[in-house]
């Protein structure tokens, strides 16, 4: 598997201004605070974390919908951190986004045909080709061709999300960032859309970054999973390894919150106390120490870095995990 996307120490800070006439920057919301990931061709990387931890911001910054504050983004080995204008527009062909809310992400005044063919129109595809492609796209996402002339409000949530997927596929992208694509849907429809996305991945050899807070969904679709907390990746690894052998206290807490199908089986539940600290004023040291049940003094002082867990595709950033390979710095960079 070859590397498709590499993100190095990516940061996105939103400045906070005070003062109406002469605004002065008084701080910054550190939505994404130094994440490093690699995504290989054809794989699905799950990105999980609770609301407000910076998952969506990370996705949008990788797509360059938001200007990164710091760090580097490489796509197919090429540095795309500073591309702008026409070059950036060309990159859109390669990277697409599927939105969370299928009700808000379709223009209510455009028919399905207009919505799905617009990207092709922008990149200069001829009319007959657009029509052919449209028919094919609607077929692969499971919509009928008589839906073409309808408006978004005439569709259900699941159908709308299929339209959103068709639009994302219109340019034959290689990388699709899925920003909680099923969290706004009913559970019964979620499965359909997830299966559709898996089928499409096989058919078109797509690479997904799958942002979600539903851990079961992520477990199902991902090859590797990264866990985010307050703008940082605290643990990343192969999906089975990470779900079976979580190292970071936060990951353990998250995983223990998944509802089980066997209620009689006793298991340890870790309930986190308190709220997510404000990303404009994150805690010193390990950002998780304020809520970590096992926090020690070192956690308050020193910021942990991602370290390799021996014998597995698995890295964790925690001072308390002792069995890590101490010498090798995060090998992701």
């Amino acid at each position: 598997m070859s590397e498709l996307l590499r993100v190095q120490n990516l940061k996105k800070h939103f400045p906070i201004y005070k003062g109406a006439i002469f605004p002065k920057q008084t701080g910054a919301v550190q939505a994404v605070d130094g994440i490093s990931i690699t995504v290989n061709q054809g794989e699905t990387l799950g990105l999980v974390g609770e609301s407000g931890c910076g998952k969506s911001t990370a996705g949008r910054t990788i797509l360059k919908l938001l200007e990164p504050t710091d760090g580097k983004i490489f796509y197919k080995g090429q540095d795309i951190t500073d591309v702008k204008g026409e070059e950036l527009r060309k990159l859109r062909k390669e990277m697409q986004l599927i939105f969370q809310d299928p009700y808000a992400s379709l223009n209510p005044r455009k028919t399905i045909e207009q919505t799905v063919t617009e990207p092709m129109k922008i990149f200069g595809m001829s009319k007959e080709k657009r029509q052919q492609k449209l028919d094919k796209l609607l077929e692969v996402v499971g919509l009928d061709s008589y839906h073409k002339s309808r408006y978004p409000h005439e569709f259900s949530g699941g159908q709308r999300q299929r339209i959103g997927i068709a639009r994302a596929l219109a340019l034959d992208p290689e990388l699709i960032i899925c920003d909680e694509p099923v969290s706004a849907l009913d559970v019964s429809i979620q499965a359909q859309v997830i299966n559709l996305m898996e089928d499409l991945q096989k058919e078109f050899n797509l690479t997904y970054i799958f942002i979600a807070h539903d851990l079961s969904v992520v477990h199902h679709i991902s090859d590797r999973v990264a866990v985010m907390y307050l703008g940082e990746i605290v643990e990343i690894g192969d999906v089975e390894e990470l779900y079976g052998n979580p190292k970071h206290p936060y990951t353990k807490a998250l995983l223990s919150s998944i509802p089980e199908a066997r209620p009689l089986e006793k298991r340890e539940r870790i309930t986190l106390e308190g709220d997510l600290p404000s990303p404009s004023n994150p805690p010193q040291g390990c950002k998780f120490h304020t809520r970590c049940p096992w926090a020690e003094d070192i956690c308050k002082q020193k910021k942990p870095v991602l370290k390799q867990v021996p014998g597995a595709e698995h890295q964790v950033a925690c001072h308390l995990v002792k069995e890590v390979v101490e010498d090798t710095e995060a090998t992701l960079v």
Binding site: L63, L65, R89, K90, R92, K93, Q96, L97, F99, Q100, D101, A104, S105, L106, N107, P108, R109, K110, E118, P119, I122, F123, V140, V141, G142, L143, D144, R150, Y151, H153, E154, F155, S156, G158, Q159, R162, G164, R167, A168, A170, L171, I189, Q192, N195, L196, D199
Partner: protein, 301 residues
């Protein structure tokens, strides 16, 4: 692929609902306008105005400009339905023909306000920052003047004629459009489907004109309807001051002005054109209010 098709079928479960929703936003709104009594009255008045304007030659009993000094200041009678003015012209016929000028004034002035205002407001709201600052401060300056005063000043510069009066009133209406459009654009441009159009590589021009503006239509239409009333009133005011329509044009404001010297002896000369203005302005305001309610998305079930 088969399973997919089956799944797709499953979430098309309620075709009845789909079909019911098929009528567009505009048809919905129209039916809501008709259901509301006040806006229906407005709609009727405006329809009446348009019908009168179209069939003016058939409806008018006399020529609007033929003078007959012997018949001056006649009170309303079966010969002259609304009486005659100081030159013996039939007031009813002049009002009927004047409706054409009124419509012309309404459409042209609001057209000017709308085109310029929408463009400025959209650009200011969409691009933000210094573009926004410059445009909106200019708009603020325009708003600092009382509208009729600004119109008078503009006509004084341009020269007095009906065309210039329309241009002046049109310019005076620009700030209202610009502000409304700016605020609507500000909210629309933050929506996900605008972000989506960025993701598919659309350029700013396409995003603004093909995605943002069509979703700002409702407030623009409401504002246009409401502004037609004010524009007609302002233009009539300019004509009353002698800065707009010049004789012998049967413009309602100018008719008011002509008749004011005989206000005590022949009140009908002033009364009926005034009443016509009142009715039309009222009609547009009622319709505008009704449209505003009808197009309000929060009322959509």
């Amino acid at each position: 692929m088969e399973t997919l098709a089956a799944e797709a079928k499953a979430d098309q479960m309620d075709p009845a609902i789909n079909r019911k929703k098929n009528s567009s936003l505009w048809l919905d709104s129209l039916s809501r306008v008709i259901k509301s009594k006040t806006s229906l009255i407005g709609l009727v008045i405006i329809t009446l105005l348009i019908v009168v304007a179209i069939f003016a030659p058939q409806i008018a009993t006399h020529s609007p400009t033929d003078q007959s000094i012997i018949d001056r200041y006649q009170s309303p009678s079966s010969e002259h339905l609304l009486g005659t003015d100081e030159l013996g012209r039939d007031i009813f016929s002049r009002i009927v023909y004047g409706s054409r000028i009124t419509i012309q004034i309404g459409v042209i002035t609001v057209g000017i306000s709308m085109i310029v205002g929408v463009f400025l407001g959209a650009v200011a709201g969409f691009f933000g920052r210094w573009v926004d600052q410059i445009i909106m401060r200019l708009i603020d300056i325009m708003m600092a003047f009382p509208s009729i005063l600004l119109a008078i000043a503009l006509v004084a510069v341009l020269g007095k004629s009906l065309t210039n009066a329309m241009i002046a009133v049109g310019i005076v209406g620009v700030p209202h459009f610009a502000r409304i459009v700016r605020s609507t654009v500000l909210s629309v441009k933050e929506t996900e489907y605008i972000e989506a159009s960025r993701v598919i590589g659309a350029k700013n021009g396409r995003i603004l004109f093909s995605h943002v503006l069509p979703n700002c239509l409702a407030p623009i239409i409401v504002q246009a309807t409401l502004t037609i009333g004010t524009a007609i009133l302002d233009a009539a005011g300019l004509s009353f001051l002698g800065l707009g329509a010049q004789p012998p044009l049967p413009e309602w404001g100018a008719m008011l002005s002509d008749g004011r010297s005989a206000l005590q002896t022949a009140p009908w000369v002033v009364m009926f054109p005034g009443f016509a203005i009142l009715l039309v302005v009222l009609g547009f305001n009622l319709l505008g209010d009704g449209l505003r309610d009808a197009l309000d998305p929060r009322l959509k079930q």
